[in-house]
Subunit: 308 residues, 2 copies
């Protein structure tokens, strides 16, 4: 049985995958802030999972963790996880020592890409899809899986398409550049373009747009064009078969998917080249509630520091 | 001995690679127009190479061909090679039958990517680079090699970054979209922005800009920003180690490379995120005269239609 843990800014969620591929119930705890608390939350969630499964921790054949920030999966170190209060932490070796089980660490978006890839494989029985996972959360980033293998890159920026500028006249991004994809299609973009007291700004935006509010329609269109641009960019660079949208904004569901498809079809109507790529048919939104990062974390490969 | 052939719009060039990796002299013939003439030119160049090497054609362990257009390397068929007068031709099977030797077909930019990858490997002894080859010719396209393997994609558009829009206020592209990378950094972009009777418009543009001509400086800057944008896009999507610029415009050499590096450094100065990617150090221009597409064609993998 493999254990996958998704350490997020507010909660730490875990799921077990049996030898038959079956998923256990999801266990979730609030994430502590700072290195000792993050480690302690992870240990608690492992302990809870072993109780629920009625097995000792050592019965987990492996434990994988998805976490935001700059992750070196070969050393198990995570850096710059600002929302978790982590400047630098050797999380993999630390948890491995505590638990006596291999603990693998991966960036949360890359882990979620593996989780989405797993879901595609379960759906159609093909285990070596080429696909991109487009994460629309507070920021925008992608995880790319080619023939079943996660593209890690050599400089920590594989899939960092959120910081590719697509409009020289756009607003300045937090990264210092102008008109980045993240300034168009992300939670932070919606917060900027649609200031509100509503607890779910994107939901309010889409609801009001659906009701015909002119300003909401305009902002939603800007957002959808950004998301569709990200889909097009991923397809014309990597030519993956599927682009699966996940992240917090994926909870928008059908209206998000239909909006992106409408724009891709509009573009295809003006460009025979783009029409030939069937983009609208290659994009989908991950099913609501599927714990992609936790499932993917359980599936990340063996790190080299375990072999040394 | 492997034989590689680059079928271009004006000439067909061939090179042989010995078992020790050594390259033969390049042989070049004018390319005929239309299917029978393209086939006949290819057969002539093979015959010339076998004479020069003093061996029978059957002594070539394989023959590879790089050719523009939509190439299905698994069937050896090429389509839409407009500049060659080819609507559709089963070039691989046809030449294999004529020559009695396996003939592999690949898109010319993808073949050149393999050639550039080979050159990097010769330079530093590493044979599994992750790199992108950015072709600045009449159009703009890339070939991506990950851990030594060419990224082919499932829909024929891997590396087709020339048709990713990066400016909503840009000019309309031949593909029907607006502000595509190809409208900024390609031979066709220079032809539009710098109308001239000079036989080498890009050379004239760069020479006049170097001499301080205000209009030339402006157009060159526009072009260089487009090329630097393509480099950034490739790096932030695939995170390859090296981006090697080739194609006809690579003949501009040092002024092209230094111009692109200057802009990447300027951007890095405004963005700590971009600065962390060391982009300026990862870009290079292929050495003048290196026959990347012919060398790469000799190295393309075995097609599946040979095994059936």
């Amino acid at each position: 049985m493999k254990l996958g843990i998704d350490i997020g800014g507010t909660k730490t969620a875990a799921v077990a995958i049996g030898a038959d591929g079956e998923l256990s119930d999801l266990v979730s705890l609030p994430t502590g802030f700072g290195a000792p608390e993050v480690v302690s939350t992870a240990l608690q969630v492992v302990s809870r999972m072993s109780e629920l499964a009625g097995v000792h921790v050592s019965s987990f054949s492996s434990i994988g963790i998805g976490i935001p920030g700059a992750v070196d999966s070969s050393t198990g170190r995570v850096e710059h996880a600002v929302n978790l209060g982590l400047e630098g932490l050797d999380l993999g070796p630390r948890l491995s020592d505590e638990l006596g089980v291999i603990v693998r660490i991966e960036n949360d978006v890359k882990a979620a890409a593996l989780g989405a890839h797993h879901l595609l494989g379960v759906a159609d029985g093909i285990t070596a899809h080429s696909m991109a996972y487009l994460n629309l959360g507070t920021g925008l980033a992608a995880g790319i899986v080619l023939d079943g293998e996660l593209l890690r890159g050599g400089h920590g920026v594989a899939g960092e398409i959120g910081h590719i500028p697509v409009d020289p006249a756009g607003v300045v991004c937090g990264c210092g550049q102008r008109g980045c994809l993240e300034t168009l299609a992300s939670g932070s973009a919606i917060a900027r373009m649609w200031p509100t007291e509503h607890p779910l700004p994107a939901r309010e935006l889409f609801d009001l747009a659906a009701a015909g509010d002119a300003r909401a329609l305009e902002v939603r269109e800007h957002f959808l064009r950004g998301a569709a641009s990200a889909v097009r960019l991923l397809a014309l660079t990597t030519d993956v078969d599927d682009i699966v949208i996940g992240g917090g904004l994926a909870a928008l569901g059908e209206p998000l998917l239909l909006g992106i498809r409408r724009i891709l079809n509009e573009w295809a109507g003006k460009s025979p080249f783009l029409a030939s790529t069937d983009l609208a048919e290659r994009v989908q939104v991950i099913p609501f509630g599927f714990p992609a990062a936790a499932v993917g974390a359980a599936l990340v490969g063996e790190p080299s520091w375990q072999n040394s």
